[in-house]
Amino acid sequence: MKNVIEQYIRKEMFPHIWCPGCGNGIVLGALIRAIHSLGWEKDEIAMVSGIGCSSRITGYVDFNTMNTTHGRALPFATGIKMSNPNLKVIAVMGDGDCAAIGGNHFIHAARRNIDITAIIINNMIYGMTGGQYSPMTPTGKFGSTAPYGNIDQNFDISALAASAGASYVARSSIYNVNQGIRFIKKALNKKGFSVVEILSDCPISYGRMNKLRTPVKMMEWIKSISVPKKTWEKLSVEEKKDKIPMGEFLDICIPEYTEKYKEICAIAQQGGENE
C-alpha cells in the first residue's frame, strides 16, 4: 500500500508541515486510497483547498492543485468545475475554514448541488493559528480564545449539508479510517455535491487545552464520542449530549448543476428566451 501512496504524492514537498500525531496525514492517506481504488487518472483530478493546516494537503498531492484563500475553496472549485465539467473536483477544508469564514459558500455549493466532493477535516479547533475555538468546538470545551470554556453552540455540519441540498453526506473519523475510505469513495462517485466530514485530532492545539495532550488520548476520545447513526437515534436527549453520530446521512440522486446548465444552454440556443 505504501507504493500506492507514493504514486500520488509530491515527494519534493516533504517533509510536511503537520505536527506528529496530526490526523491530516490519515485523511490524506484515506483520500489517496479512495481515489486509487476508483482508478482515476491524476490528470483529471483538481483538488482545491482554503487556508489552515488541512489546506496544505493540496501541496502534497500530484493532481491539478490549488491552495486558495481562507474559506473560499468551494467557490474556486465551482469556477473550475463550471469551466471544465470533465474535471473531477475535490475541495478539502478544515472546520474553521468550511464552517466559519466559508460557511456561506458551503451552504450555497450544497444548494446548487454542483458535482464537487467536499472533504471536511474536523479537528474542532483552529490549529495553525494556535488553538482558537471554531464553530465546531463542542460547547464547554476550551480554546486559546475560550479560556473559561466555549459558550457557542457547535455546528452539525453534516446536518447542515443535508438540509442545504447536497446529494451525499456522511461522517466518519480518523479512528475508523476504513469506514472513512468507503464514504470518500462513495462521495467521489456521486454525481452532485457530496460531503464527507472526518472527525480528526489536534493534540497540540485542541488536546493541550482539553486534557488530551497525546495523539493516543485524542484517538481514544474520538472513539468514545463516536456512535453509529442507528445507535445514536435511539439515545435519549441527555445521552446524545456528548456523542456524535457516525455514518451516512444522505444518499440521493437529484439533478446536478453543470448538467442543468447544459440544458439552459440548449434552451438559449433554441431561442427560448423569456422576453
Partner: protein, 383 residues
C-alpha cells in the same frame, strides 16, 4: 483597414457595450452578484453566454464571484466579473490571489459614490486608488478607464487582452455616467479586432515549471486538466509553484510580479491628446470627465485660451514620464475628477514641481460639466 460593412451600429448603454466588448474579446465565463450600477453587465452575460456555450453564474456573494472567476480562468476560459464599490471591497482578497497566482481575469468596477453604501445611483471616480492598492502587499495592477460608451467596448477588449498577455487581474473602471448612458456604438467583428490569448506552454510535461517566466517576465500557462499537473498557491512560491521561504526566491518572484507590468508600460499605457501642441494650459482627465474636458478645450480655444487635454485611459500603471514632459511644456495643469484629488496627487508627484498643478474636485454626486472646468481655468488665470 476596417471595412465599414462589417460594423454593426447600435444604440447601447455603457454596461451593454462592456458585455459586447467582453464577448468579442473571448470572455466565456462570468460570475457576479447583483449591485447598482453594474447589474446590467451580469444581466447581459446571463442572456448571452448560454447562447455560445459560455458559462454564467450568479454567486452567493462578491467574494465567491471573484473566486469562481479565478478558478474558471485556471481551467482555461477567459473570465470576468463586474461590480461597484462595496462589491469591489469584498473582491480584494481574491484579486490579490489572482495577482500572486498570475491568473488572467477582468474586474469591472462601475464606480458609484462612497464610502460604504454611499451614493448607489450617482457617479464617482472615488475608487482610483482602491483600484491600484485595494488588495494588500506589493502587487501589479492594470486599470483602464474609458470615457464614453463606444470606448467602453474598445477598452473592454484591451482589458481582456492585457489580462491574458500579462497573466494578471485587470480593473476596468467605468463610472455611473458612462455605465448607464446610451450612445451610438460601432460593434466590430472579431476579425477587425486584435484578440490576445494567454501563452500556453508546449514543453514536455516533466519539464514544465509553471512559474518560470519568459523574457517578457510572463510565464506560459497550462489549463487545469490539460495534462500539466501543478500547484497554484497564494503563498509566495518558487518557479515550481511550491511555497518558499528562501529570501532570494521571494525577492526575485515579487519583483518580477510587479515588473512584468511596470516595465511593460510602453505597451500598456493608452492615452489620447487633444490640442496639446501649442497649449500653455493642460487638463489631465479620465473617464466621463475627460469627455467634458474635451469640450472645455473647444470652448477655451473659442475664447483664445490655449488649452489642451491629456486623456488618460490607462490609469495604472501610471506613466510618470508622460506627465513630466507635459509639466515641462505647460504653465498650468488642471486635474478635474469626481473625487478629492486622487489622481491629482499622482500628477503632482510625477510633475516634480515643473508646472503649477491644481485640482478640481466634485464629490456631490453630480457629474463635472465642461463649463465648470473652463471657469476653474479662468479663475486660475485671473490670479
Amino acid at each position: 483597414m476596417m471595412s465599414d460593412e462589417k460594423q454593426i451600429v447600435k444604440i447601447l448603454q455603457g454596461n451593454e457595450a462592456c458585455v459586447e466588448g467582453a464577448l468579442l474579446a473571448g470572455i466565456r465565463f462570468f460570475a457576479g452578484y447583483p449591485i447598482t450600477p453594474a447589474s446590467e453587465i451580469a444581466e447581459g452575460m446571463a442572456r448571452r453566454l448560454p447562447k455560445i456555450d459560455g458559462k454564467f453564474m450568479q454567486m452567493e456573494d462578491e467574494i465567491a464571484s471573484m473566486a469562481a472567476v479565478i478558478g474558471a480562468s485556471l481551467a482555461g476560459l477567459k473570465a470576468m466579473t463586474a461590480s461597484s464599490g462595496p462589491g469591489i471591497c469584498l473582491k480584494q482578497e481574491n484579486i490579490g490571489f489572482a495577482a500572486i497566482g498570475e491568473i488572467p481575469c477582468v474586474i469591472v468596477n462601475a464606480q458609484r459614490g462612497g464610502p460604504s453604501t454611499g451614493l448607489p445611483t450617482k457617479p464617482s471616480q472615488g475608487d482610483v486608488m482602491q483600484a491600484r492598492w485595494g488588495t494588500h502587499g506589493d502587487h501589479p495592477m492594470i486599470a483602464l478607464a474609458p470615457s464614453d460608451v463606444n470606448e467602453i467596448l474598445q477598452i473592454t477588449v484591451k482589458a481582456v487582452n492585457f489580462s491574458e498577455k500579462y497573466r494578471t487581474p485587470v480593473m476596468l473602471l467605468l463610472d455611473e455616467v458612462i455605465a448607464h448612458m446610451r450612445e451610438k456604438v460601432n460593434i466590430p467583428s472579431r476579425e477587425q479586432l486584435e484578440i490576445i490569448d494567454r501563452k500556453r506552454t508546449n514543453v514536455k510535461k516533466e519539464e514544465f515549471l509553471p512559474f518560470k517566466a519568459d523574457e517578457d517576465m510572463v510565464p506560459p500557462m497550462a489549463d487545469f486538466g490539460s495534462g500539466y499537473r501543478y500547484h497554484v498557491t497564494g503563498l509566495v512560491h518558487n518557479e515550481k509553484g511550491y511555497p518558499t521561504s528562501d529570501a532570494e526566491e521571494i525577492d526575485k518572484f515579487l519583483r518580477r510580479l510587479s515588473n512584468k507590468v511596470e516595465l511593460n508600460k510602453k505597451d500598456i499605457v493608452i492615452k489620447e491628446e487633444y490640442s496639446l501642441d501649442d497649449a500653455k494650459i493642460a487638463i489631465v482627465a479620465y473617464g466621463s470627465v475627460a469627455r467634458a474636458a474635451q469640450r472645455t478645450v473647444k470652448l477655451a480655444r473659442e475664447k483664445g485660451i490655449k488649452v489642451g487635454l491629456l486623456k488618460l485611459i490607462t490609469l495604472w500603471p501610471f506613466d510618470d514620464d508622460l506627465i513630466n514632459q507635459l509639466a515641462n511644456q505647460v504653465d498650468l495643469i488642471v486635474v478635474p475628477e469626481m473625487n478629492l484629488g486622487q489622481m491629482f496627487r499622482e500628477v503632482q508627484r510625477a510633475a516634480q514641481g515643473k508646472s503649477r498643478i491644481i485640482s478640481y474636485s466634485r464629490i456631490d454626486g453630480d457629474l463635472i460639466n465642461p463649463i465648470e472646468i473652463l471657469e476653474k481655468i479662468e479663475e486660475e488665470m485671473s490670479q
